[in-house]
Symmetry: C2
Subunit: 420 residues, 2 copies
Amino acid sequence: MVTGDDRRPALNLASRPGQRSETVRRANLSAILRELHLRGPLSRSELVALTGLTRSGIRAVLSDLVTLDLAREERAASQGAPGRPSPVVRPNSAGATVLALEIAVDSLAVGVIGLGGEVANSVRVDRPRGRFSLEETVDDLVELTRVVRARAKSRGPMIGAAVAVAGIVRRSDGVVRRAPNLGWRDVPLGARLTVALKTGLPVAVANDGDLGALAELRRGAAVGSNHVLFIAGEVGVGGGLIVDGRPFTGLAGYAGEVGHIPVNPAGSVCRCGSVGCWETEVGESALLTRAGRLPDGGRAEVDAVLRDAAAGSPAAMNALNNVGRWLGVGLAGLVNVLNPELVVLGGQFGRIYPHVSTTLRAELDRMALEASREFVRVVPATLGVDAPLLGAAELAFEPLLADPAARAPSRAASTTAASA
Amino acid sequence: MVTGDDRRPALNLASRPGQRSETVRRANLSAILRELHLRGPLSRSELVALTGLTRSGIRAVLSDLVTLDLAREERAASQGAPGRPSPVVRPNSAGATVLALEIAVDSLAVGVIGLGGEVANSVRVDRPRGRFSLEETVDDLVELTRVVRARAKSRGPMIGAAVAVAGIVRRSDGVVRRAPNLGWRDVPLGARLTVALKTGLPVAVANDGDLGALAELRRGAAVGSNHVLFIAGEVGVGGGLIVDGRPFTGLAGYAGEVGHIPVNPAGSVCRCGSVGCWETEVGESALLTRAGRLPDGGRAEVDAVLRDAAAGSPAAMNALNNVGRWLGVGLAGLVNVLNPELVVLGGQFGRIYPHVSTTLRAELDRMALEASREFVRVVPATLGVDAPLLGAAELAFEPLLADPAARAPSRAASTTAASA
């Protein structure tokens, strides 16, 4: 099992006397649906190998998943091998869809995503940087959702919704505690979206760095890794941690705020109010200022710096070197504390990666402990700008994946009801 | 259930077809033995409340634990309440003991510790700072073990052994990758101790900060907390992390090296080879140097600084303030990344805590993100110098706690054998 946080839930059997067989049935439904959602079509033989269930056990689980409209079985085309081909099982993309939303500093995005991760439809619209009220933002998301849902109309039931936001989020109630780049403080985003979207579904809220990490773990650069540090640079610098194969969010959901480790007591004042945070050395505005461009110029200006550097501009190369060096300094500390196997650089850091990787590695070599440095790989993210949106979809699918049988009266429940 | 990392192991039933009832029996043995080991004597009623098992379920488990010599039942003295008093169950301290060892920079320690955490006997001997070879250290530990075991002779079977060491440890094979204060590099400590101690038991090896965190979680300041950052200052500065109630060791066991986060690019060269590590600002020698004392003076000199400060010495007070301030800076970054509920200050930091807590808190207020700062408590450790030794005992008990039935042919196994 290498699918990251897709471990089966712990069954605390001691505290659930008398419910053993229903508990086992649900755990097996969950395990198989996760495999299909994350890996795509699989043969029954592959499911046997992946789960350790017997063939008859797999058959019973698949029958349930088909009844729940979450999977489809197809006779596989024979590939010339002797014997009957093993039927192929697919996640039923239209059997369950989720609504994923993202509030970035520069843009808003909405997607309808089906079981298995297929993006049925999505849209991203840029908006100028600045302070938008919660109401404006919610209104825009409602309108984008209307458009996207209309385009994805043929899709099946919507079973969850989640939003990624560039701010510090209290997971328990979906309140954005602080989003300096949006000008938000203690904003009840989850509650407002739940009402405004009128889907009848509660909208889960999470930090964009945390969800970027989740997406890269499930479908990107970190598939198969258990100890991952994801770092995303945009206007601010955020991140997400994967610990022992699971997203790590800390006590309240605030973990992963790597942009605000103090690295330079002689540095600049940070938007968070502190001084010399990592973000002040590696964030977009540090890069642009040093390269002689508008500090708040956004992606277009960053691209211009990359072009200048490719053309040999000393100011642009110096600015990139400086970011690379400070990236290495901050990463050294994080690698020493977390001993990850993989560091994934997302957002702007993914785009500038080819220009900074040599400097970054040299600094990491110089400053990280040899033991922890030894096996850590530093790679660019593979999901690009949509990582937080795709992570929001994964978050929204989570309740279904954890307990597929809860979506409808289960066969066992009906039996119990009938015999009662 | 608030006993920290004492969660019951996940039962992956899907991959163990046909073994369900034996699996459940073992999980229940483990759950009950953990409760007894960590909480001490409990009534059957309390065990029912803690585990959710039925009374007859508890009775069967206790019968097995008594057969395995791991628990004793006693009729409780009636406390005047009506009805029969519920019998009290105790962990049998002599039924299973472990050997715990510690290699600190200034001392060696050995203890024999019984189930339930009772220290049957222990010894700590100071040794001068300096570089001791692996062989000298192992010889000393063997001699100390002989003494301690002789004194604890009446105790029962030894079932595990573990050593805490002031260095970076690869958990998989017990190799100390680097211990700058001992002068060690890639030293096969676990293998050598396993042979030299002649107990027939493999000796597990772990970092002293990680084991200090484990001990404080199980028996000290962090009981009941799920997200804990433990920081221990001695000659070097180490730490340990508790994440979601479990010790977090990273990919290879190197996580928690908080002493080596870069906090000051204009700072001193660190013994790790990097520059401006947190340890260079908050470690013992930084405190002593600034207070005008011998940088390598050890605990006696630190105590002298505390006395000077109490007497109003500006140099001593200034040195302590400086450490408090840098403690706050480094903690701010760690709190932002990890969002812990509790920071436990151990070792020297526990001793200087009363003198630095105000400065530390002010700096943390200034530099940590408000959301993460809000609920984090900073407290001194309660287990003192023995925390790593007690953590080694917990590590050594872990295999027994995880599967008590494995210690001897279990009843189920005998039945199977008889019927085969």
